[in-house]
Amino acid sequence: MSSQTLLSIKDLRVAFSGTEVLHGVDLTIEQGVIHALIGESGSGKSVLARSILGLAGNHSQTTGSIRFCGQELINFQPADYQKIRGTDIAMVVQDAMSALNPMRTIGQQLMETIAYRHPLFRGQSATQTLAREKAKLQEIALGLLKLVGITAPEKRMSAYAHELSGGMRQRIMIALALVGEPKLLLADEPTTALDVVVQRELLEQMREIVKKRNMSMLLVTHDLHLAHDIADRVSVMYAGYLLEEGPVKQVLPNPSHPYTEGLLEAMPDMGSEKGSLKPIFGEIPPPSKIGKGCPFASRCDRSCEACQYALAPMSTLDERTQWHSRCTLAHSNEPKKQREAIDTLSEVVSSRERTDFPVVIDAHIAKHCYYTRQGFFGRKKPWDVLQDIDVQIRHGEVLGLVGESGCGKSTLARLLLGLQKPTAGAIKFKNDFYPEPRSQSWRMQRADTQMIYQDPYGCFDARMPVIDQVAEPLVTHLHLSKAAAQERAAKVLSAVGMPKHHMTRLPGVMSGGQLQRAAIARAVALNPSLLACDEPVASLDVSIQAQVLELLNNLRNVSKMSMLFVSHNLNVVRYICDRVIVMYLGRIVEMGEIDQVFKHPKHPYTKLLMASTPGADSSIIEFYPKGSMPSPIDRPKGCVFANRCPMRSSRCLEDNPPLLKDENGHAVACFSSKTIETFINERKE
């Protein structure tokens, strides 16, 4: 590690119209180092990254010092900033989906950026370069596309953004950032919107490029495991303060600050036992409510009186590795303050210990089709979203459904809830077939199957108090009087941990975590037999995510409610589910008990998913051929995974492997009897 300082931030304060959101942050990034900046939403991590390029916002006041290569950036004028953007410091942001101009081709955008930003053409008139040096620009552009791992780069040059997958768009954004051969790359949640497999691949590639070019990278992320895999150093931010900083290898296994420790304990990993998550209670305080004390004190179970009045300065834990922390109480054995547990759930949801229906859902779906318009008169052409799905959900069981986006998991959830009818096949709910959707009897039955969605803001009416929205279905389905419904709604809401004074608020002013609790309350108030959760924690912060997971876990224990849990996050599924189904391109590739699938995965795709999960051992990934999920409109003839499978044989390209169960009920759809490890070992020899 070279010790040359590239960026040095001292006492950086950023305020928006008088409210300070960064309270004197010090941060040093050395040349060749990947520095992770960790924090939850509202911690100010993005503001910090953006302030470096003068992009914090139009109405921000920034004070302090940001020195880059010995140059003070804080007093830069817009024209000065423009000069360093894309040349010395480049930035990649989260929403690659819309960060490419939809009206211009990838080639046009790359070539214009090269003309303005590439070292070769600096100091020349870019318009002339664009007109005269087409061939040279094209060559550089193609080289960059290859560098970031774009397949068939010539073809992509004339493509528009909408024609590319999310992963490819983000790769192109990275290519655009690399044009000027920057010394520092600011990556603000660069892979958050991507599937795990793509995320892993892309991050490895970014790491490789950064290391090869001896660049530095500031990686802003909320994911500690990801920081652990990629970064060299880590800084933990909370409410506009830096709480801990140090080398990843020291901080993440053994954090010093209680907040870092709390984050680690709130995140399920491959080894977490059920019920072992320790959510951080409460929520990040808004900038206006931050006093002189430690901002984390209100949520910290080790806080003492002194924490309320003063924030401790950074103290050095290890001089050699520059490990600093404001607090060292993480592993102290002080008795923790007892918190009120959310244990009133049993009062509001009735337990279903005994049941007439040992199997709640029994589904045999031969196929389910969507349609595209095609041809002269816009005839509808069907394509299969789902094929050969046999699923049972037993009473009191939590069934996980994992797979990357586009694999049909949300469609399957909708079918299993009876919201749609499969094109071919039948689904029995409590031994009866679902009635025709939208019919009278279907309506009557809706209360028995409920759903929770990813975006809690999207599933609440923004203009109606939360408690009314929880009470509404009680009036409709249970025929309660308005007053009785309100009373029950209030009971359920407080059982999921919502304070009384929050209940009458509008959804817009509530936090995502609070609102997701309300969504859960709305669903379970009806005492459904089946609760489907579609990515219920994907949009929530780590500490809040743990709260919601624990709530669902308690709910399951108390009520014996059957649940369908759709998620792309393997750690979360592993933590909460009893059984799991792994889907790929509309087919089940593996199915079994959690321990069977996670401890002894059989299908090569399951292995790839697990190895791609942040925090997991990723050594086998390099043996997988590069590729992406084929379009379901053009299904491959044989095994759906054949194009990405290292073990494929000619048979895999011809036939679809059937889903075969072994004696323990662990089912897998693969022709090969070898495991991927033996295959790799054989190949190594």
Binding site: Q82, T87, A90, Y116, A177, F377
Partner: protein, 307 residues
């Protein structure tokens, strides 16, 4: 691609047919044309003769089919009032209107869009505020007031410009100013908000993050995206041109469609009214059709055919 164009054109034709039907039946609901034309005192023989002459004695649906058939051959019947061919009457008014409207449209767009875009770029500055004040002012002053005001100042007080007719280039100045001010005012508003939205797009921010110069970001990244939404408004604007400006044409006694419409309605000259309403609708449909096709050309997202 071809299929997509075909579908858009087909949709327009169906809309046109529906419009024709609605106009035909709605106008026949307003009363018996024979009685309206000949007055209440007319005797039965005269009424019958009139009905026979214009085919009004047949069932309504037969009249409609006959009307459609004639329309196909651009035979639009004869004016009840003058007995002249409706086509001739309409075209006599149509060309002067077009003469007036084309320069109006050009001035409107050349004034309104740049104003809006400039205001958006300098958002919340004095420039933006004064432009938007002008815009509200231009829109708020009604055309008849503006027209009369201009007449008063330039024709009556100063005597510089002729007050009615369309015989010389000078005649065009005041009607164009009257219409262009209010239309450009509307356009600058639309252009401003479209451009503000475009400047907020993540791709524009990303371009700024890459350090591209502001001029290039505005011209090549923000403006094309803003133009997409301006295009839709443009369709509506161009579509209304044929109907003419009823008020402006009447204020300046311009012998155009707007003036003809007022005359024909006053005289219950149904065939003429029918054609004008139809032409207005048809021009709106055509303009929208053109904008849909243009959108296909300029918006890459609409261009693909496989989905």
């Amino acid at each position: 691609m071809f299929a997509l164009v075909f579908r858009i054109v087909l949709r327009s034709l169906i809309t046109l047919l529906l419009l024709t039907a609605v106009v035909f039946f709605a106008l026949h609901l307003t009363g018996d044309p024979a009685r309206l034309m000949l007055g209440d005192g007319a005797d039965a023989a005269a009424l019958n003769a009139f009905r026979q002459q214009w085919g009004l004695d047949k069932p309504l649906w037969q009249q409609f089919l006959a009307y459609l058939q004639k329309l196909m051959t651009l035979d639009m019947g004869h004016s009840y009032m003058t007995g002249l061919s409706v086509k001739e009457v309409f075209l006599n008014a149509f060309w002067p209107t077009l003469d007036l409207m084309i320069p109006t449209a050009i001035i409107t767009l050349a004034l309104g869009i740049p104003m809006g875009v400039i205001a958006a770029i300098h958002r919340n500055s004095t420039l933006d505020r004064s432009m938007m004040f002008l815009s509200v002012f231009g829109y708020a002053v009604p055309n008849f007031f503006m027209g009369v005001l201009l007449l008063l100042v330039f024709s009556i007080w100063l005597g510089w410009l002729p007050s009615y007719g369309n015989t010389s280039a000078l005649h065009y100045i005041m009607p164009i100013i009257t219409m262009a001010t209010s239309e450009a005012a509307i356009f600058s508003r639309y252009a401003r908000s479209a451009m503000i939205d475009a400047l907020r797009l993540p791709c524009v921010r990303a371009a700024r993050m890459r350090g591209l110069p502001e001029k290039r970001i505005i011209w090549l990244h923000a403006l094309p995206n803003a133009m997409l939404s301006i295009l839709t408004i443009l369709g509506f604007f161009l579509g209304t041109l044929v109907a003419g400006a009823v008020i402006t044409e009447n204020v300046f006694s311009w012998p155009g469609v707007g003036k003809l419409l007022v005359q024909s309605v006053a005289n219950r000259d149904i065939p003429v009214v029918q054609v004008i309403v139809l032409a207005t609708g048809a021009s709106l449909i055509t303009a929208n059709l053109l904008m849909d096709l243009l959108a296909l050309v300029v918006n890459p997202r609409l261009r693909r055919t496989d989905h």
